[in-house]
């Protein structure tokens, strides 16, 4: 899912950087002093979640969980996921430097969209209903992410269209898995710590 340096056209890279800066600014505005520890610890959790490999048939995929990040963090998912990508690039050599903006938008924009759309639905109703909405959100976030990745590749040149298609189809199983896992994660959280969602319902940052 990571795009590397040198593949995208300058226009796409710059557009990505500008959009990421805007998203991060929006996210930082919603982060008060009180919310910094929560956002920081969740950002670390999503980093750790990306280290988890889940088997799919003969192969395995690593988790992204950006839908879940959006549901829990709202706009703050933008800086939180950005921080994760920065650390991955610097200390693990994943992704790239100039493409950080594009990669952030590709992961965080779907997260925020899913969060804004489904947050209330996930927090209300029975835990099962919330979990189903969360599952839809988890799958939708991956679908949107692959969509945006495909768009950023295709916008950089026609030669990437086969690669863009490959990215999209290769991620269909990932959508299913992320949906299932997001749903179960929310089901557990709703049952174990319902008060978490009391605040989410009220403060829609």
């Amino acid at each position: 899912m990571h795009i590397v340096d040198g593949a995208l056209s300058n226009t796409v890279v710059i557009a990505g950087a500008v959009a990421a800066a805007g998203g991060i600014a929006m996210g930082l505005r919603s982060l008060t002093l009180e919310r910094i520890p929560t956002a920081g610890v969740l950002s670390a959790s999503f980093f750790v979640a990306s280290l988890i490999y889940v088997p799919v048939g003969p192969s395995s995929v690593h988790l992204i969980m950006n839908g879940l990040a959006g549901i829990l963090l709202g706009w703050a998912a933008f800086p939180a996921l950005f921080v994760g990508l920065v650390l991955q690039a610097i200390f693990f050599g994943f992704g790239g430097l100039t493409v950080l903006g594009v990669n952030t938008v590709n992961i965080a924009l779907p997260a925020v969209l899913v969060g804004l759309m489904l947050r209330r639905l996930v927090a209300s109703g029975t835990p099962t209903a919330g979990a189903i909405w969360a599952g839809i959100g988890g799958a939708l976030a991956i679908a949107l992410t692959t969509g945006v990745v495909a768009i950023s590749l295709a916008a950089s040149g026609d030669e990437f269209i086969p690669a863009a298609k490959l990215v999209f189809f290769a991620h269909i199983p990932v959508m299913v898995i992320e949906g299932l896992l997001t749903g179960f994660a929310i089901l557990l959280a709703r049952k174990v710590k319902p008060e978490l969602f009391e605040t989410a319902k009220g403060a829609n940052a």
Binding site: D5, G6, I36, A39, G40, F47, G84, L97, P162
Partner: protein, 262 residues
Amino acid sequence: MAHVLEQGDTTLTETGAAQVSGLIGSLDPRVRILAAIGFGIVVVGLSSLTALGAAMVLSAALLWASRLPLGPTLKRMAMMDGFIIFMLVLLPFSIPGDPIFTLWGVAASWQGLWRAVEIALTANAVILALMTLVGTMEPVTLGHALYKMRVPEILVHLLMFTIRYIEVLREEYLRLRGAMKVRGFRPGTNWHTYRSFGYLVGMMLVRAIERSERILGAMKCRGFSGRIYLLQNFVLTAADRRFSVLFVIAMGLLICLELVWR
């Protein structure tokens, strides 16, 4: 990404952990960050293979100067290449031009092959420079340097929190996985696996949020006001200036190469 970590490795070294020294390690963190960004922007702009080859050599020289362990660093680079290999392999077939050979009726072109080589060189040169210049820094120093470079305070806080808690949460994850294992959990492609992993992620999040409540309490107790207090001040030394001048000259040479060998 988990196989990046060797057995017993920590995810990110925290304060006080063994630091890689060497020529790079003694430079001002701000200079290293700016150098990495400058290098990234210049190299992404290059397209001649000669210039990109020179950039790769420069990255390799930085790797040598940083005294990072060669094996693991190159292994990480190779893993990134594993990710992009599909895209690169498709390129010769999707860019029209002089054919090299034909596979199932689709011609592979030289132009496409060179484009793939160009992307591979760019990606590897930039990520290697980033890992050697910035990745050798203590993560906390990175946060302080970014703060000094006027990155918004809240973003730096978020970065420092993430750095601080990645290892703590990974240990928690490994504990939970261990607990699942002793109960006979073997991951496979089935409903039970996905439900268990979902609950695992959910449990991690619930615990993370509870932990963050305790952290907030502890921080309030110590009068946290959102300011970042630096433990050391960064001072530009003569060595930093020498490195900066050399680096700018090297960037100039790369651009010259690009212009001469188009």
